[in-house]
Assembly symmetry: C2
Homo-oligomer: 339 residues x 2
DNA sequence: ATGAAAGCGCTAACAG
DNA sequence: CTGTTAGCGCTTTCAT
């Protein structure tokens, strides 16, 4: 088991001081070309590996970006955002520490603390569906750790945010259905605790209103747990005298559930009932029928959030970089689940 | 912006020494109950947060487990393994630092180094498809960082491994097809650079041999890049005088591609050609027809790999914990893509 | 049961 | 351009 060499080791072998070694290694300007070369050569030879704990401790800087996402295995969106985050971070010399809250508030708080204790330079968060209190976010900021929220955010929070225009997305999607002649459009909402759920719902409502449709009549179901809630909601709809002409879902994975359930019940999509999703998950292209959806630019959101975070990390000396809100547009993808 | 309190701050306010505070905080046995209580109370009050960089540096210990996966957005398997890893790690008091190699060797080496420089306590790796050299893994071990490989491993490496019996899985799957009467079974392989690809291929071959089928005749295509390779391979098959009765795919995502392409060409699955996958990705239940596959216990593999890693981390004082190889069985899931 | 002191590996003034 | 000197915040003998 080989020893891990330190700058002191290098210094001794070269007969120079630690500081010079340290400077040489990080290409500090005022260090003689010759010595720099010597140091680097030896470092290479001995396979010197800097101890980032030590350097972080001494410099009070770190190159780790923490990320907290609700989950990664159900929603392709998050996986794709992570890809964007990692690419942007890497390009700017940062590493990424990914944590999952499992949609659990307590766990989110926990992860935030761990990230903070590991002295992450900054943290990116997409809120769990349970999150209603934001002390953990304040704590981070108060400790000097910049935070950028993405996708699942809370507008009022004084932190930068990277989102999609959920209201507009849902509005446009509903509008599209209305133009196509659908009138009786049911809506499967996500948990109203999430701002994005509320925004999408609002967009849906407004579009209906623009068509003078009495929204009081429209069927809206809030689905918390996945599969069971969705099936239950659809089952109820089908019991009513007249089933809806279309079912809008707050998320692709719900739309998938709906389509599967309708198929099970031998109801044709879109002939009998149309279905739409939201997110642009690849699965919407795989299922039969393919599902009309609103694509979110996940990868770009990840990059943007990270770029902003790093900006705040760097600017931190002169504190108070204004919190920005970056809003991406969604793109309507018309597929076979609507006609 | 609040100050981050240190144990020194606590010590001064309580009029006791740093060491006592340190001990009290980590429930060291020989520290008076009363003082311990006082310390903890103050820590709570001031919202003291330990600096893990400092403690890691001083103790030469860390509670971070590094993970390197090829990617997370395409294969549900990896996302699920990560879930298992995180749960197990959390239960044992570890945090997880996830990195993606993006199927790129250079990046994998890079991430390994970053993890090492951040003094990860141990590292879990699933190899990129490019990886042919293993110096980065030796480097980790040589630096005293235990490594456990999972899924994409290399048997010869002297490190613990957590895998599925790929040979057996493919063998059984092929056997199942043969029993069902299929004889002309084409095979879409993954990159032969990966051991799992080779093992699955071997299992396929052996099953054919057991049925006295001339394997020289069987059509095998190695697919490297996803979509294009798969389509090309299937296109070729269809140009031949007689198309295969079944197409086995090394992975569910390939099977999905195949099914989509066959549908595009108006070829019935399974009536004209049967298709099978491997992994047990949820998408195999969503696509029409649903795809027969071999389920891998991803979550359990994640947990097992992590448990083993932590065992090695802890045992490390008395070095040379024997490297183990944990082999999980796969489960055949018969669905609509075969009859 | 507690304190003093040394040091983990590195950075960063400050001198020269 | 380079060396000296202090720490960063915490752990850990070794005394007491």
């Amino acid at each position: 088991m080989k020893k891990n060499y330190t700058i002191t080791d290098l210094a001794i072998r070269l007969g120079i001081s630690k500081s010079t070694v340290s400077r040489a290694l990080k290409d500090h300007p005022d260090v003689n070309m010759a010595t720099r070369a010597k140091v680097k050569a030896l470092a290479e030879e001995l396979n010197y590996q800097p101890n980032l704990l030590a350097s972080g401790l001494a410099s009070k800087k770190s190159y780790i970006i923490g990320v907290i996402v609700p989950e990664i295995s159900q929603q392709h969106f998050f996986a794709k955002v992570l890809e964007g985050i990692q690419h942007e971070a890497k390009e700017q010399g940062y590493s990424v520490m990914i944590c999952q809250s499992d949609e659990c508030f307590e766990e989110e708080v926990n992860q935030a603390q761990i990230l903070r204790n590991n002295r992450a330079a900054g943290v990116l968060i997409s809120l769990s569906r349970e999150t209603q209190s934001f002390k953990h976010i304040e704590n981070l900021k108060n400790s000097g750790v910049p935070v950028v929220l993405f996708d699942r955010t809370v507008s009022e929070l004084p932190v930068s945010q990277v989102v999609v225009d959920d209201y507009k997305g849902a509005f446009e999607l509903t509008h599209y259905l209305l133009e196509k002649g659908y009138r009786d459009i049911a809506y499967l909402s996500g948990p109203m605790s999430l701002e994005i759920s509320r925004h999408r719902y609002e967009g849906y409502l407004q579009a209906l209103r623009d068509y003078d449709i009495n929204t009081a009549d429209s069927r809206v179901y809030e689905c918390l747990k996945l599969s069971s809630d969705v099936k239950e909601a659809v089952r109820k709809m089908l019991l009513e005298p007249k089933h809806p002409e279309a079912i809008m879902c707050v998320h692709d994975y719900m739309a998938v559930e709906v389509v599967r359930y309708l198929k099970e019940r031998n109801i044709q999509v879109p002939q009998d009932i149309a279905v739409t999703g939201f997110a642009g998950d690849p699965v919407t292209d795989i299922i039969t029928p393919t599902i009309t959806t609103m694509k979110q630019p996940a990868y770009e959101m990840g990059r943007a959030a990270t770029a902003q975070l790093i900006k705040e990390i760097n600017a931190e000396d002169w504190d108070e970089v204004p919190a920005i809100k970056k809003v991406f547009d969604t793109v309507l993808q018309i597929k076979a689940s609507t006609r």
